[in-house]
Amino acid sequence: MEARGNGLPGVRPRTAPVRFEAEVHPVVALALVAAGAGVLTWFAAGRSKRLGLTPHGGRQVRVKGSRRYRERGTEVTASAAQRLNHASSMLAASVLFDSGLEHYRGQFFNRAMYTPIIASTVTLASSLHGAGDTDPGRSHVRHAVQAMAGVTGLVGFGFHAWNVGKREGGYSWQNLFYGAPIGAPMALTLAGILGVAAERVRDADPDAPELAGLPAGGALAVATAGMLVGTTLEAGLLHFRGAFQNPAMFVPVTLPPLAAAILATAAAAEPGRPHKTAKAGMWAVSAMGVLGVAFHAYGVARMMGGWDNWRQNMIDGPPLPAPPSFSGLALGGLAALELLEHRRP
């Protein structure tokens, strides 16, 4: 109300009936709920396994009578699993902030719009928990949470597809640009898939790890390559909406498919070979995801009013949380390559 002081004579404030504002802002409430759910997940995931002493580093030592770890486990599966959890964390975090921003824009018009916030927080907690878990052997809680995330993403995809279809013009470019982003919920599914894979890899035979009956390294490599291509399509759609006005906008539609192709080829190579190029490609994609945030921050600054107008430009400008989903997938690719490299012929 200090506006009244300077230079607006002759206007008295229209007095509104004073109401005691005790209510919590819905966004704050949502954040609290999500954080609470995340903390619960964290402890739940821990309790399921940590029945005794903590493990001794990465190498599993059976302590007689005090632990119920499974016997199996080597550094390869555990370390690859941790990588997969890193990947899943990054994707879940990307989904958390991206869906938070986009659904804030949509003002949580439908209650279902709260779902991805909670789901991705829980997934994030589970993945972070797994990332710090050097043990082999799956956590059933984490596995269940990741599977739930995968399903939630699919349901979200269905919702978004339905939302786009019922808009004026149906499945048109216009609605793909400005309707609910069809591809976005799939990022949560990808986080779930990588998280589930992490738990399964933990459980797998370290000498010949398998996923769904296939060699784990190869299966993961091909799957990750596919996910990279899918995410490229999403980035391509949005960068097409932005008319590729900056040449840098071509990077996320060219580098990831290239890296994905190399990754997929790696799956076909004989076991145990090093995959330097494929790894370099994954690191490059990973770095691109992080650099993308900086580019998007520059994009926000280029909008009218720049960062001072953040309430508009954070939402209307290039989405800051989106690019790291590429980094997440690249980490998944690195896990796959690790498994491939350590696979015994």
Partner: protein
């Protein structure tokens, strides 16, 4: 027709003055407009002025409980005094200043002829009768000269009074207009969506939610 009501309770577009919705030029322009006092007139003489105020009260009536009524008459006088033109005038009408002077004098003369009192002394009903007659082109007092009253009413009275009224922030608040918007524009453009810096409409039976929202638009 819905009767006029407090549809956007607690909404004051001026609370956005220091938000990113207003730029410096807009603040200057609006400060100048808000500085025009309700009794300020330079172009019209006192007699024309009282008639003009009485006309404006009927063309764009304001709620009796409005603390600071929009100075519609003063805004019109300001336009005439500064010589802001519309860019055209009908061949039958003289220049805007001359048209207003003659028209106001003629309305006053019509009032005295029909009711024996000045236009500004008439009640609402009688004033409306005269304005309706002007609108219909049925007034014929010699004071009009060759100026067609219907064209004067639509081309000058309605045009100038309505433009003056809806150029004022109080009117923007009344109709729930977002007001100035630069550098910040709008994000949510779909049906039934509003940005947190837009007016919230009171839904029937629940003004409280709108009041809460409207007190936040300036943040």
């Amino acid at each position: 027709m819905h009767p006029r009501r407090d549809l956007y309770p607690g909404y004051d577009v001026l609370t956005k003055r220091d938000s990113p919705s207003w730029n410096a030029k807009t603040r200057d322009v609006l400060a100048e407009r808000l500085g025009i006092g309700p009794e300020k007139h330079r172009f019209l003489d006192d007699e024309e002025w009282t008639t003009l105020k009485a006309v404006c009260d009927r063309v764009v009536p304001q709620p009796a409980d409005r603390a600071d009524p929009i100075p519609v008459a003063a805004l019109i006088d300001h336009k005439l005094a500064t010589g802001e033109h519309d860019g055209y005038r009908h061949a039958d009408l003289p220049d805007q200043g001359e048209a207003w002077r003659r028209g106001l004098a003629a309305l006053d003369a019509e009032a005295r002829a029909a009711y024996g009192a000045g236009f500004h002394e008439l009640g609402a009903w009688a004033r409306d009768e005269l304005l309706k007659a002007a609108e219909a082109g049925t007034l014929a007092h010699p004071a009009w000269g060759d100026m067609p009253t219907a064209k004067f009413f639509s081309g000058r009275v309605l045009a100038d009074a309505v433009k003056a009224y809806y150029a004022h922030p109080t009117a923007w608040s009344e109709i729930g207009f977002g007001g100035p918007a630069s550098p910040r524009g709008y994000v949510r453009m779909d049906f039934d969506r509003r940005d947190p810096w837009e007016a919230a409409e009171a839904k029937p039976g629940d003004a409280g939610e709108a009041i809460t929202q409207n007190r936040r638009v300036g943040r």
